[in-house]
């Protein structure tokens, strides 16, 4: 009996894997005949929900609907707060349904930037205090917002449009974050495209991960820089830590408690990272300028004592001039490929880097 049960469980888990669904921890999609219920769970409070949305296809007349905010789909005029979500909408091919965005300077897609310049997409200013009058002028039928711990959407409710909260950035598995594309697909009537994109990303990620597993050596990797008195690090439970492991590397803070970004003291980073093989860091420099080793040492001379600095194995990514944040959310397999190409160049010969460059 016990044996059959475990075989059954194994089959079930294999089945779940083949289906590629249910990775996202804070997203539940339940389909009924006439509608779809999407539940967004609260990443900060176990067992509670941030939102429950009932997506009803426009033409259908439904008598009784379950509890939740009703949204007629597909939506046609969306207001989007975060540039990553705009990129997700573009990824499912629904960019012409974006009516307005906040902080358009963070958009990385040339298409979307051009649409903002041409006035097809309006810019509502800061995402924390969007211009509410301009938003009303857009007549949105949905607002995609990013919740932070303990915040409210404030004024946006004045538009009367449903506000969809997307805490996808809180997912701890890079592929789980991609699964949120399914929700975007449902909202914008691009369900199939979103599903196939999600499947493709998953399968490519898994095969790259399998490729990295063949590497004979796991290099030691440190990340980021000192901010104020502490060093910003990705915690052991974060998806960056996971991706570094999937790329066949040993991350120096893989045991650091937490699941998002965290801090460590400089002493700890010195202790663990002084003899690291690689150092990956993100930075922002205007005009797409690339950071050099001299810039790094000028910022803080302590950096010079780390082995990657001395060996010239520091890799940087300018997050203003590259689509790093879009790719990490929509195409983590492309970021994984960059990591593998950095740590194990023999596995991906002739790889052309999109994001990272070696600091000269």
């Amino acid at each position: 009996m016990k044996k059959t049960l475990s075989v059954l469980l194994l089959l079930l888990s294999l089945n779940a894997f083949a289906d590629q669904t249910g990775r996202a921890r804070y997203l539940r999609i339940e389909k009924a005949e006439a509608y779809t219920v999407v539940t967004v769970l609260d990443p900060w409070k176990k067992g509670s929900e941030i939102g429950r949305y009932v997506l009803v296809p426009g033409k259908k007349q439904v008598e009784s609907l379950p509890k939740g905010q009703v949204i007629k789909v597909p939506v046609s005029r969306a207001v989007i707060y975060t540039s990553v979500h705009s990129a997700m909408v573009e990824a499912v091919g629904a960019e012409e349904r974006i009516a307005a965005v906040c902080e358009s300077e963070y958009l990385t897609s040339e298409n979307l930037k051009k649409a903002v310049r041409d006035g097809l997409i309006k810019d509502l200013g800061s995402a924390t205090t969007p211009n509410i009058e301009k938003m009303l002028l857009c007549r949105p039928d949905v607002i995609l917002a990013t919740p932070y711990e303990n915040n409210s959407s404030g004024n946006a409710s004045k538009t009367g449009a449903p506000i969809v909260q997307l805490p996808d950035y809180m997912e701890q598995d890079p592929l789980a974050r991609v699964e949120w594309l399914r929700f975007i697909g449902l909202l914008f009537g691009a369900e199939e495209r979103a599903e196939s994109l999600y499947r493709e990303v998953c399968s490519q990620y898994e095969s790259l991960k399998a490729l990295a597993a063949t590497a004979t050596r796991r290099p030691k990797v440190m990340t980021e820089r000192k901010w104020g008195s502490s060093w910003g690090v990705a915690a052991g439970g974060s998806y960056i830590a996971r991706m570094l492991a999937d790329a066949g590397a040993d991350y120096i803070f893989s045991d650091h408690p937490g699941s998002g970004s965290s801090y460590a003291s400089v002493e700890q980073v010195l202790e663990r990272g002084r003899d690291a093989d690689f150092w990956l860091l993100k930075y922002t420099m205007d005009g797409g300028r690339q950071m050099s080793r001299a810039d790094l040492a000028g910022d803080n001379p302590v950096y010079k004592v780390f082995a990657p600095y001395q060996k010239g194995t520091v890799w940087g990514c300018n997050t203003i001039s590259t689509p790093y944040y879009d790719l990490i959310a929509i195409h983590p397999e492309k970021v994984l490929a960059e990591f593998i190409a950095i740590f194990h160049p023999e596995l991906l010969p002739d790889y052309k880097f999109l994001l990272y460059h070696k600091l000269k």
Binding site: S126, W227, G228, S229, S230, H256, P257, S262, Y263, A264, S265, V266, E267, Q268, L270, E271, R274, Y283, T284, M285, D286, D295, G298, D299, N300, P301, V302, V305, I320
Partner: protein, 336 residues
């Protein structure tokens, strides 16, 4: 010097030594005392040597000097304005320095390197000098010291709101950097910046020690000081130069550090039971260095992985002292 003064000097010097040694011994990474000593002599494990020489030693020296400089600035301002609640953070002098730093960090942009830091020091000096000048100008017309403090706080608010406006238009990365700077940090002075920081601070501290006589005369009132042959105008200018340089150097390198400048002169007066600058100024200097070292040690206790912001610790020591002084002002003779 009476017996009490001797005890004060002896106790503070011993405390300073102990705290300095503790600052080198304690940290997030456990290093045996023998290894710390070996590292200082340039021997021993290279990793530990790096931690001690690149991280702990510059941080301890910075804390010592920054604490001394802020405390002496506070004392000079309290005497200059004959106001026991004056201090660089209350009179808006630090806010002026902040504004100077914000202009460089947020509008000039993401510079790095020594040149950038020296520019921020100059900008901070310009900012604190402007605020000090304004306060002195107001001091001529406003006789009440409470009112003058309120004017200082108002000038501080104006500087802060200008900083908010700059923040609003700056790139996220620059804002992040500025916010982190604002939390106060003795670790930002690295080994190669330390000589510059030391020379600014030591220069101003030495100049302040030369001001002891005119400061004592000022305690008796400006008219009396002038009768004693003190050039009041020149003394004012010197006090402002010294406090401006010290506040600006510390603020530009370590961020706006609260309460040390305000509280330490009172701790020193309570210890000495006297307002005579001949003893008060060196005791303030030593006590400031001790308190800053203690705060610096408390920000990164062994066994904790993250580092507390400095400004989360300094008010815990500073604020109760000020409350004590206000509550007991009738009993504390230097108020009368």
């Amino acid at each position: 010097m009476n017996k009490r003064t001797h005890i004060c000097f002896a106790a503070l010097s011993a405390a300073l030594l102990v705290l300095f040694v503790l600052a080198l011994l304690l940290g997030p990474v456990a290093i045996p005392a023998g290894e710390v000593w070996a590292a200082l002599l340039g021997k021993g494990d290279p990793l530990w040597a790096t931690i001690v020489l690149q991280s702990r030693l510059p941080q301890a020296v910075t804390a010592l000097l920054a604490g001394a400089a802020l405390a002496v600035s506070g004392l000079l301002l309290q005497t200059l304005f004959s106001n026991p609640l004056a201090g660089p953070s209350i009179l808006g002098v630090s806010d002026g320095a902040n504004l100077g730093v914000a202009v460089v960090m947020l509008s000039v942009g993401a510079g790095a390197g020594l040149g950038f830091w020296l520019t921020t020091v100059l900008a901070a000096m310009a900012g604190s000098a402007v605020v000090l000048g304004l306060i002195v100008a107001f001091a001529r017309r406003v006789k009440s010291s409470t009112m003058l403090l309120i004017i200082g706080i108002m000038i501080g608010y104006i500087a802060s709101s200008l900083i908010s406006i700059l923040n609003f238009h700056a790139a996220a990365d620059q804002v992040h950097r500025y916010v982190m700077w604002g939390m106060g940090d003795f670790s930002s002075v690295t080994m190669d910046r330390l000589p510059y920081f030391c020379s600014f601070v030591l220069l101003a501290l030495a100049a302040s020690l030369l001001l002891v006589k005119p400061l004592d005369a000022l305690l008796l009132g400006e008219a009396y000081a002038a009768n004693l042959g003190v050039n009041v105008q020149r003394t004012r200018v010197w006090i402002m130069l010294c406090t401006g340089l010290m506040t600006a150097a510390v603020t530009a390198f370590c961020g706006p550090i609260s309460f040390i400048g305000l509280a330490v002169p009172h701790i020193a007066r309570l210890m000495l039971g006297s307002s005579n600058h001949h003893n008060l100024l060196p005791v303030t200097l030593l006590a400031g260095a001790c308190l800053a070292l203690l705060c610096s040690i408390l920000t990164c206790l062994p066994g904790t992985s993250s580092v507390l912001p400095l400004n989360a610790v300094t008010p815990l020591f500073g604020a109760p002292v000020i409350i004590y002084v206000i509550m007991n002002r009738r009993k504390i003779h230097y108020f009368n």
